[in-house]
Amino acid sequence: MVESPGLSIENLSIAFDDGRKVAVSGVSLSVPTGEAVGLVGESGSGKSLTSRAALGLLPKTAKASGRIRLGDLSILDMSPAQLRSVRGAGIAMIFQDPMSSLNPVARVGQSIAQVILSHEAVSADDAESRAVTLMDRVGIRDAKARAGSFPHEFSGGMRQRIMIAMALAAKPRILVADEPTTALDVIVQKNILNLLDQLRREEGMGLLLVSHDLAVVASLCSRIAVMYAGQIVEEGPTKEILVRPRMPYTAGLLASTRRDKSVKRLTSIPGSPPALGDRAASCRFAPRCRLAIDPCRSAPVELIEVGPRHGARCIRTQEMAHV
């Protein structure tokens, strides 16, 4: 693989319980700077663990193997102190719930200034005025006055903007956004997504957008990786994924979002995602797949190249073309 200044995850596995419970298996994914890549999956798919691993933010009980590179740094080999210095300027993250990520007793301007101060040798005054500029940049009106407010004095959408301002404060090369709009109303959601897109273009940041919502991810990302039961099951250019999905699970997700009034019912995928302990050793989607045949149920399936920079973990991709 070509060395890029962005984020590159190689063969990442994450296990709990002394390796007995493998939550993420063999995930490889890269996020070049300036590009937006989407990571889609349902709850328990391993998408959030994968994205947290990129910042060295795994729970203590988790054991990760594989490689995560940020430019020429190896995240999994770094000490906590080294990680702290990388977080912020190298890679930053925003989460679903901005209320629980912000210090409730600190004025938001100071919270943002604190991030600047911990990464750069600037005066407190300079940091505070930069904080105001950042708040303005993320679309908070009357930023100078609002910098003196506390988190609870903002709406959910405004709090998420403050989180984004904090994430931007140390000028990260990669921004990881884990369900950044899920807790927000749709109109606010759209505004935040537009803001993330604008910042990616203007700052040349790489964006890893993690969500359960394929439409949210597709609206911003040029590439999409779909996770199911701890594995990437399909990865490719957004348009290919939407128009010619080659893995039955991706196709099922797409079909279930279709709202065709001429058909009186929604298209659904039978069953539900397997719990951590119940994952098939073969294709993990096979128990729910209507294209599954015996070989799908007898051995693990590798990610197979199905087109230019497009992979699918499926041995029935030929049949997929006809459904």
């Binding site: 439409a215 609206s219 348009k239 539900s272």
Partner: protein
């Protein structure tokens, strides 16, 4: 509307905030109709659900169910009448008692309302589970053994155990995995057809509500700001807010180009 099963007239509810959570909502529900209600957080849609089901009394207004104003009934009478309107909420984890088997939870509803005698409960529970697509063995298990989608099926079965005429589903699929949401939506549509239920389906997803319900109410800040009739497409919505909602949603069809 000729002879609706439910007529709601000007119901309001204030919880002590600066403005009412629900401000004078009026609408009708026909027998066998599925009515959609769409709104964002704070729009008053859940307060509407709770007041219409009389889980909470509105401060003002009438909830006329089969000709009788439920909001005016005394507690004792209300307990009996309330059975006819059942609700399913967003979070199936919080809605089930973890210490009760599914069979006991469903059986209790029938016993409380005097809808079955004790020795026939087992048979009725099996029928209910079958109706929502769960195996009859589920009766002996506890909520913790079920996935989110299965739990929501159990909540629906529990609502059906009261033999309601109206089912109010408030964001019934919002907390479920995407691949499971469609199953639960389809189940509600099947039950409506099979049992002749009248349904109020509440949610924030305009496209989904529009797919499910021919007629849609749009709520904003405690008020119904627009009613989109069955013969008009949601694309022709008149209220500025409804149009803003429409535009805010990324459609996969459009993205696929």
């Amino acid at each position: 509307m000729s002879d609706p099963i439910l007529r709601v007239e000007g119901i309001s509810k204030t919880y002590g905030g600066p403005r009412p959570a629900l401000a004078g909502a009026s609408f009708e529900l026909a027998k066998g109709e599925i009515l959609g209600v769409v709104g964002e957080s704070g729009s008053g849609k859940t307060t509407l659900a709770r007041c219409v089901a009389l889980l909470e009394r509105p401060d003002a207004g009438r909830v006329i169910f089969k000709g009788e104003d439920l909001a005016a009934l005394r507690e004792g009478q209300l307990r009996k009448r309330r059975r006819g309107i059942q609700t399913v909420f967003q979070d199936p984890y919080a809605s089930l008692n973890p210490t009760k088997t599914i069979g006991d939870a469903l059986g209790e509803v029938m016993l409380v309302h005097g809808l079955a005698v004790r020795k026939e409960i087992k048979k009725h529970v099996a029928e209910l589970l079958d109706q929502v697509g769960l195996p009859t063995t589920a009766a002996d298990a506890y909520p913790k053994s079920f996935s989110g989608g299965q739990r929501q099926r159990i909540c629906i079965a529990r609502a059906l155990a009261a033999q309601p005429e109206i089912l109010i589903a408030d964001e019934p699929v919002s907390s479920l995995d995407v691949s499971v949401q469609a199953q639960v939506v389809n189940l509600i549509l099947d039950l409506k057809d099979r049992l002749g239920l009248s349904v109020i389906f509440i949610g924030h997803d305009l496209q989904l509500i529009d797919f499910i319900a021919p007629r849609v109410l749009v709520m904003l800040a405690g008020e119904i700001v627009e009613t989109i009739p069955a013969d008009r497409s949601i694309a022709d919505a008149r209220h500025e807010y409804t149009r803003a909602l429409m535009q805010a949603v990324s459609k996969l069809e459009t993205l696929a180009g």
